[in-house]
């Protein structure tokens, strides 16, 4: 059983499996008998699945493709089926060639000769050539022209990065503590009043979580809970 598992795994993909099936059944690669092929292909995939092998999505995709070709072959006019079969044949022939070449490369390939690292000579790479300012200008126009084909991002895209405000959680911890020191019990949502900035809202929320974790504030209630300062908000252990 193990041995079979191991051997089944050797298919490089759906095309490899199909080539094997075609060779085994002595089918004509240029005129594939699709019905025959579909059944055997599905049996193989099923066998792989039964052995809990990792059947990659490509195998299933090919199964769907084969079934589709079989289906359209049943139609009275099957030009589409012929077309699809030709495409599959082409792909199989190409892959067969690829495998043959791979085998040839494999026979000759060897890692037995080792090069060496370049000797550490720091070459003087300073440029000694000369160019005219006009040459440079022409290059500039050419570069700018090329860039236009890939439209530059709109200015807003850039300013967002530049103006993007990142509010730190620690600054919001100070904010919350300060508010609570003014009035030690208040409504939770009130802490968010007037904050429109997304980053600031998130930071405030994280700050409250931090304070709860540090047992410096207490939150109580379901809808809009009350937030209460514990022990004057002093950090645990301070």
């Amino acid at each position: 059983m193990d041995k079979i598992c191991y051997k089944l795994e050797t298919f490089e993909g759906p095309l490899d499996l199909l080539l094997t099936l075609i060779a085994k059944n002595k089918l004509d690669i240029f005129d594939i008998q699709i019905t025959e092929l579909v059944n055997q292909y599905l049996e193989q995939v099923q066998a792989m699945q039964e052995q809990e092998m990792d059947v990659s999505s490509e195998f299933l995709e090919m199964a769907a493709r084969l079934i589709y070709i079989k289906t359209v072959s049943l139609l009275p006019k099957h030009e589409e089926a012929e077309q699809l079969k030709r495409e599959l044949s082409g792909q199989l022939i190409e892959y067969r060639d690829c495998k043959r070449v791979a085998a040839m490369l494999g026979e000759r390939f060897s890692f037995d000769s080792y090069p060496r690292e370049p000797e550490k000579i720091e070459p003087d790479r300073r440029y000694r050539g000369h160019h005219t300012p006009q040459e440079l200008y022409a290059a500039y126009l050419s570069a700018a022209g090329r860039g236009k084909r890939f439209l530059p991002p709109p200015q807003e895209a850039f300013t967002a990065i530049v103006s993007h405000r990142i509010v730190s959680v620690s600054s919001r911890i100070i904010f919350v503590l300060r508010r609570l020191r003014q009035r030690s019990v208040q409504s939770y949502t009130a802490l968010f009043d007037g904050i429109l900035d997304h980053s600031e809202r998130v930071a405030t929320f994280l700050a409250i979580l931090e304070l709860i974790k540090g047992k410096r504030v207490h939150l109580n209630g379901e809808q809009n809970p009350e937030i209460k300062l514990i022990n004057g908000g002093v950090r645990h252990g301070d």
Binding site: M1, K3, I4, K7, L8, T10, E12, G13, P14, L15, D16, L19, T20, L21, A23, K24, K26, Q40, E43, Q44, Q46, A47, E50, Q51, S56, E58, M62, Q91, E94, Y95, R96, D97, C98, K99, R100, V101, A102, A103, M104, L105, G106, R108, F109, S110, F111, D112, S113, Y114, P115, R116, E117, P118, E119, I121
Partner: protein, 194 residues
């Protein structure tokens, strides 16, 4: 004497460079003409080959590189504690084949030929130094293009892509032989399916 000195200089250049050095560069550095340099390099390479020493000079894409004689691979690995490179997998060889004969190619092209995802195999080949990036396709998404390296040529023992083995056209006999060995496997596989 003069020739002896030039030969020494060529050896020194190849040795110090480590990588392949183009004939032009050697000729220019030694202030000799290209064809003289070429002849000297071929003579030198021949001498190294017949001497059966530890070093070889190989010709790669218009340049020359010094590397160790493969006969001594085991000794080199033992002394330098280099792990023996695992032979390339079938998947790696297939990807190499597609890249070598169609370069520069995008990953999508390789995957189309093989019918499976090849990302991991390609990045493995890149990290082994057998395949390298070759710019991008001017298409939406600007996919990377790949080609083979001079290390690839060296490992294959050829000097240029023109020397790649040419696949023979339509030899049905051979094909069925090669494919035949799989049949057994398949029959076993089917057995379990039932």
């Amino acid at each position: 004497m003069e020739i002896k000195k030039l030969q020494g200089a060529i050896e020194a250049i190849l040795f110090a460079s480590g990588e392949a050095v183009s004939l032009d560069r050697i000729a220019e550095a030694l202030e000799i003409d290209r064809s003289t340099a070429g002849k000297m390099l071929e003579n030198l390479a021949d001498r190294y080959r017949t001497e059966h020493g530890g070093i070889r000079i190989v010709r790669l894409e218009g340049g020359y590189q010094m590397c160790t004689n493969p006969e001594h691979a085991a000794a080199v690995r033992a002394a330098l504690e280099i792990r023996r490179n695992m032979p390339l997998t079938q998947a790696a060889l297939e990807v190499l084949a597609v890249v070598a004969y169609n370069q520069p190619v995008s990953k999508a092209f390789v995957e189309q030929v093989r019918g499976v995802d090849c990302s991991a195999v390609i990045s493995g080949l890149v990290s082994k130094g057998l395949v390298e990036e070759r710019g991008r396709l001017e298409l939406p998404g600007r996919p990377l293009l790949y080609g083979t390296t001079t290390d690839f040529l060296r490992c294959l023992g050829i000097s240029s892509l023109a020397e790649l083995p040419q696949p023979q056209k339509e030899q049905h006999q051979e094909e069925t032989d090669a494919e035949g060995s799989r049949e057994e496997v398949l029959q076993q596989g089917e057995g379990t399916a039932e």
